[in-house]
Amino acid sequence: MSPIFYFLAMLTLGGAVAAMSLRNPVHCALSLVVTFVGLAGVYLGLGAHFLGLSQVLVYVGAVAILLVFVLLLTRGSGKDEFDERPDRWWPALGVGGGLGGVLIAVVLAQPGLALRTAPPELPTVRALGESLMTDFVLPLQVVGVLLTAALIGAAVLALSDRRRTPQDSGPVTSREEGETRR
């Protein structure tokens, strides 16, 4: 295993720990980006170039931006109130740690994992696209429908109080307008 992998793994895990434990939600979101970038690096190291770059494009370029936008829209950049309820951390740590421990034990106890050490033939992007259009055409369409539905759903949800604002019919006084804006 190359030192690059260990570096990226530390980056990924460190980012994840920071994202889940920092006080300021915006810092959490930025740490999450570190995790995403680290994972993209791991994917690239594994030879999944297309996937790694898609990861950066989608997660860093879209999901993280969406997160910080929502954080700002909900005035969430202040302090999180989790330190008022420290009692929640112990059960959560117990569950998470227990699950992690069990899974690591499972991984380490599997002798059958060492099946193939020779790397597979890395598929080219062309091959990837061809299989998307042949073998995986149904999932592709379903994902397309899902994304469209999610897009419309998100837009409808976020716009839901539009009908409550009075359409400007005739002149409004500045006071009324100020109130509707708020």
Binding site: A48, L67, V95, T117, S131, D135, L147
Partner: protein
């Protein structure tokens, strides 16, 4: 050591961290962050099994991860829209505030 093991351990730790955070944090957005981390951990294990696993089909794992990214993007969009709606009703994003059925 077989390269599959450290990769899987990273995926497992990532999943555990995400789960802990998602359970412990009260801010809905940060819970969503935890869920994203868990999804990414699952993705990583898919890619690792694609790369080192015994499956003869060369592309299934990669494809699964790709679709998973697309679904995660949709999930984030809808989840965050829901959080905005929650904020409009309750003026907070704390999940503790969203405990009654009446809007």
């Amino acid at each position: 050591m077989n390269p599959i093991v450290p990769h899987l351990i990273v995926a497992v730790l990532l999943f555990a961290i995400g789960m802990t955070g998602a359970l412990a944090r009260r801010n809905a957005i940060l819970t969503l962050v935890g869920i994203e981390i868990m999804l990414n951990a699952a993705n990583l294990s898919f890619v690792v099994f694609w790369r080192f696993g015994p499956n003869p089909d060369p592309q299934t794992g990669l494809m699964f991860a790709l679709f998973s990214i697309a679904v995660a993007a949709a999930e984030a969009a809808v989840g965050l829209a829901l959080i905005i709606v929650l904020f409009r009703h309750r003026r907070t994003t704390s999940l503790d505030a969203a405990d009654s059925m009446k809007g």
